[in-house]
Every structure is written in C-alpha cells, then in structure tokens.
Symmetry: none
Amino acid sequence: MTGVAEVIPIKKRPDSLTRLKASARKLFVERGYHATRPQDIARDAGLGHGTFYLHYPDKRACFLAFVDDARQELNAFLAHARTENMLEERIAATLNALYEYSDAHPGVLRAALTDKMVIDAEGAQATPFLVSWAEEWANLVRDAAEKGETCKSYNPDIIGHAIAGALHQTGCEASRGQLCRKQMVDNLTRFLTKALKAN
Amino acid sequence: MTGVAEVIPIKKRPDSLTRLKASARKLFVERGYHATRPQDIARDAGLGHGTFYLHYPDKRACFLAFVDDARQELNAFLAHARTENMLEERIAATLNALYEYSDAHPGVLRAALTDKMVIDAEGAQATPFLVSWAEEWANLVRDAAEKGETCKSYNPDIIGHAIAGALHQTGCEASRGQLCRKQMVDNLTRFLTKALKAN
Amino acid sequence: MTGVAEVIPIKKRPDSLTRLKASARKLFVERGYHATRPQDIARDAGLGHGTFYLHYPDKRACFLAFVDDARQELNAFLAHARTENMLEERIAATLNALYEYSDAHPGVLRAALTDKMVIDAEGAQATPFLVSWAEEWANLVRDAAEKGETCKSYNPDIIGHAIAGALHQTGCEASRGQLCRKQMVDNLTRFLTKALKAN
Amino acid sequence: MTGVAEVIPIKKRPDSLTRLKASARKLFVERGYHATRPQDIARDAGLGHGTFYLHYPDKRACFLAFVDDARQELNAFLAHARTENMLEERIAATLNALYEYSDAHPGVLRAALTDKMVIDAEGAQATPFLVSWAEEWANLVRDAAEKGETCKSYNPDIIGHAIAGALHQTGCEASRGQLCRKQMVDNLTRFLTKALKAN
DNA sequence: TATGAATGAGCATTCATTCAT
DNA sequence: CATGAATGAATGCTCATTCAT
C-alpha cells in the first residue's frame, strides 16, 4: 500500500504473451492442434480472444512458436549431456536429460513432434523437430565413428533417424504412463550402446 | 431379373465400397485426415456424397477402416517373415517385407500411423497401429530371448516400442525419398541384430 | 392430388438460386453491400446460410452477379429504344426506357451502380456498369455525328460520360422520390437534344 | 509554465487534429471508407490510436468531417467563378475551378462524394455533397433564366442534378486518368452552354 | 442402393471502441 | 493530451451430416 511496497512486484503479473504461451502449450498438449481454438487459448489465459491476434498472426503461428519454444527448452536440457566423453556415457546422459525434460513437461514433446502435415497440408515448417533431432543423433554417430568408438559401417543419417524414432515412440508411451522411466533409460542405453559400439 | 441374366456382367466395375476405400486411401495419404472431406472421397470415387454414409457412419469410421485395412495388408506381407528361424534372418526378412510394402503402397504407413489424437481428441482407437506393431516386436524379442538368441536383460515391451519407433521414423523419411531403401534395410538389420543378439 | 394434377406445377416453387437472387437484390437495394450479410440473404430466401455458398463462391460474387443481372435486364429495356431514327426520338425513347426500368425496379440501378471501390478496394469488376453505359452513349453520339445530326466537335467519350453521369444522378434523386418522372424525361430530353444537335 | 515560455515553440509541428485530418483524407481517398480503420489513420498520423477518439467520437464522424472539409475547400475554389457575368463564362470558370481543385487534390472529390448509404445504411448525412452541389447549379440556372440568358422552360432542380451528375462522372474518369483535362473542360463548357442558352 | 441439395453449428479472424496509465 | 493493450460482438465462410427423391 505504500510506495515502498510497490517496488517489490517488479513484474506484477505475467504479461499477456507469457500467459498465452502457457495456455497454448497446455491446450495443445491436452487436446492437440485441431481441437484447440485460439479462443480457448485466450480464455484459458484469462484474456479476450482479440488479444490472441495481438501476439500471433494466426493459430498456426502460435503452434509453431510453441514447437520452437519446446525445441529450445529441450536443447537447454540436452546441452550438458554433450559434454560427456565416452559414447555410453553420452547416450545415457542424453536419455536421462530427455526423460527429465519429459517428466518436467509431460506430453510436450509428443505434442510438439506432431507431424507438420497435421497442421498444414501445404506449409513448410522450417525443419520438423524430429528431423533436426535425427540430425543431431547422426552427428553423434559420425563423431563417435571418427573416434573409433562406433562401428564405421553405419550410415549415420539412417541410424540417426532410427534412434530419433525409437526415442520418440518410447517417449510417447512413457508419457501415457505405460512404461517405467528408470527401466526405460537403462534398457535403451544398453540397447543403443550395444548396437553402436565399435566391436 | 433372373439369376441367368446376372451372370453376364460378371464384375462390371468395383462396387461402391471398394471404390470408396481406394479413394479414401488415396486422399488420406495425399492430404491427411483433416484436409480430406467425405465429399472429396465420394467424388473421387465417382459417387454422390450421400453414398459415403451408406457405407460408413462417419468420417472417423472411414479413416479407422483405412487404418485397419493397411494393418491387415501389412500383416500379410510380414507373415512369411515370421517363418524364418534365426534372429538375424527374421529381422532382415521383416525389414524387407516392411519396405516392400512401403514401396508397393507409398505413404500408406505414414498416414495410417497418424496419432489417434489427431483424429479424435477423446476417442479411443482400439489399439493404435504403432502399439500393436510394438507388441509384435516385443513378442519377437521375448521369443528370441527364450531361445537364448537374445540378451535376456531387456524388457521386451520397451525394446518393442523402440524398434517400432525406429522403423516408423526411418520409413517416413524413406517415403519422402530422403534415404536409400537398400542401404536402409542393410543398416537397420545390422543395427538391430547387433543390439539384440545374446552376446 | 391425382397424377394428372401433378403435371401442372411443373416448376413447383422457385429453386434456391432464384430465391437467393431475389433476396440478394432486395437486400442489396435496401441496405447496400456492406450492411447485407450472406446469412441475411439466405434467411430472407428461406434457406440455410450454407446454401448461399452452394451457389456463390463468396459474397462479392453474389453482388457482382446481381449487378450483371441488372445490366442485362436494363439492356433488354433499352433495346427497342435503339431502333428509333431521329436523335431526339432516340434520346427520348432511351430516357423513357430507363425510367420505366427504374419504376419497375426501384433502387436497383442505384445499388447496381455502386462504385466498385466500395465492394473491393483491389478487385477489378470487368467493366463498371456506369462506364459501359457511358460507352453506349459515346457510341450514340459518334453515330449521330457521322450522320450529321450532332455537333461534330465533341469528343464522344467525354460527352458519353457526362450523359451517363447526368442520368445516374437524376435517376438516384428520382428513386428517392424527389423529382417528378414525367418532367424529368421531358427536361432531360430537351436538354440533351439541345446540347447535342448539329446546329 | 508562464505565458512567456509558451511563445517559444511557436508552431513546432502541426497539432494532432491537423495530422489526423491529413491522414484521414489520404487514406479515405486511397482505400475508401470501409478499408480504412481508425487505427490506420492514427498510425499514419504518427499518433496512438486512442488519440483518434480524442478528436472524433467515431469513424463515421471523421469521414463526415473529411467530406465537409472537402466541400468547403472546393467552395473556396469555386467562389471567384461566381463573379463572372455571362453564362458561358461562368460555366467555363466553374469547370476550370473544379478541375483545378481535382488536380490539386486528386481523388478527393471522388471519395468525398461517396454515397451516404455506403457509410451508414440508416443515418442521415445533413446534405449529401452531390445534392448541395446540384442545388448550386440549380440556382445558377434559375438566376440565368431570370436574366433571360437561359431557356426558361427547364426545371432548374432537374437540370441542376443532371449537371452535378455529369461533372461527377467525368471527374471520376478524369481522376483515373482516362480523359484529358483540357479537352474535358472545353467539351463540357460547350455542351452545357449549348444546352442551357436561351435560344 | 444412390443422390446431391440443404443444413447450421462451428471456426478463424477483424475491427471499432474503451480505459488504465 | 496521449497511449496502446485489451476487448468481444460480429463477419465471412466451411464442412460433416441428413433426408427427400
């Protein structure tokens, strides 16, 4: 009530974009792209639905922004996993980071990995999330091969896609609570390490 | 009017359901679920759009029927692969069958594997295609483990999902023409065999 | 009630397009383009608003069709006026036909002559109604000049526009009931004849 | 804070109303009434869009003010034309003034003469621009008739509307650059003079 | 069995206007 | 005076589905 007190809530309440983002994420995860109306997002954020269009040109852009945010968030989680040295450690660290993210943001990856054809039969999402993910695994495989840690006769691109797909699918099942997290990391680490390692 | 008369036009033209199925498949593959209207399917089949509802209660049922047909078709392709004895042979045979099917029906798997949330936020597809596929791989892993061909410490369900996901993702990329079919079968066979085999 | 009776109402009731056209005309005349919603037109026609889009791709097309119908209708009225020989007679006949049409369809010309910028800031109506009208008067002036009936030093295009504008404006006022029809035809006939005639 | 201090920034920059007026005119001319949003006007004027409502109660009022300004501006142009004595001179002077204004403010007349129904299906614009214009011509005709310069058997109101319409329509075409200005004044002066003069 | 005109709930989006700062 | 985030009624249009023929 005094001038002094007013200093404290520097950011009194999250601004509308922040709230829209949170609501968009929540609803895209819960209901999927097609079952979520811009109006629902705005209402969930406690805003009039005109406000939605103050921040996004259209619904598609909002979804794409959600995907991009998820991508960056996940990258932050995965970043420290890349510092590991040994292949097996790197795989384990990556899987752990991945499932940590999944736990922290249940369903987000599943929603964000939605095939772009679902959103827009024509449009071109810069690089579909899964593809960029596959590329990262391909690089990991390539690097390891150069270091002699990995069987050299693999085509890294193919293996990259295979790994990305395996993780996506197990992740989806995990997010439906069908599979035990700990076991999953353990099994997949051993599975991938065994498949990849040099000898 | 008599049975005799009916013999003549032995099989003039495929009946309407058959034609609807073909058109539905074509359009679901080309455009995806949401961008395909019942009307488009009927028109593509050369039928009035009321006829669509003579054969399907609604659009969702039509899509589900399409998925189910694809599942059965694929199973027929995969059937003889199960007769192989050795793990590696079975894996190679399965992959070959899978990609043969993909070649014969480009895009069908991709479309049929559409996440059910895309179709219907609430509804429960009996068993999602990918899940049933994962189960089959889980069984293969379980069987092989019993025979001592496979590392016994894997949880077959987890590994089943991982394999299904890997195949789905590589299959999608293949259907976009990004990866070479032959190399893919070779790489994946070696990758999976190495990951699975006992020692 | 008998089969015989059923032959009589060959066209039982006007089909939906006919009714939409009538309602569109009525509402465009009464309220103008912007204050008329496709839904209003359909409702006025006793149809669901989806039906509107069975017949027109959009509201603009419906308006343009209305304008075109009016143009053709008016042309039919004007047709016999062209058979007259002497300039003064032709002018008088044209004016009479014009105001007959205006009486038969009050407000239609006013609405149909709506500047295209009002409908669509960008779009290009083939030939705006008033312009095509101006061209007809330009031709009349040109013909008369060749026959020596008219002062030859006029630029027919300019004069054509001037006459079209004069008739449009007087027609608008007439349709608001401000000016007496008979007097108007008489005054304008004399005015135009005097302005045009050779000597 | 004192009157003295206020003298210094004599007229730093046009005040906001002036700038709004200029932007409103520009945009109403370029895009028409319906395609111009209050927000566009304010932004074009370099002002926040709340400011618009400090000066006008609503968009309609702004448009009406634009029309009124144009009317007064044009009157100033036409004023000296009224001082001419002979009918033909007065007509020529008026036309010249009119087209001078059109050149100085291209498109303004066209926009300002927008039929009031376009702005507001119900509302009553005090006196539509074209009507007041027609009245002025009617007065000119009446005056000339009293002086014996003009054929007395015309109804001045009808002729006034006819002339106003003719000038409007030719003006529109001129503003689209279809007709030559000089020729237009010459042709119309002769046309009107011939039509009006006593004998 | 086949048709396609008709339907209207529903959707994405716009825009004139308000009001707290 | 000035601002611009916020609003929500309103709009043009789509599409899964029905039903009279």
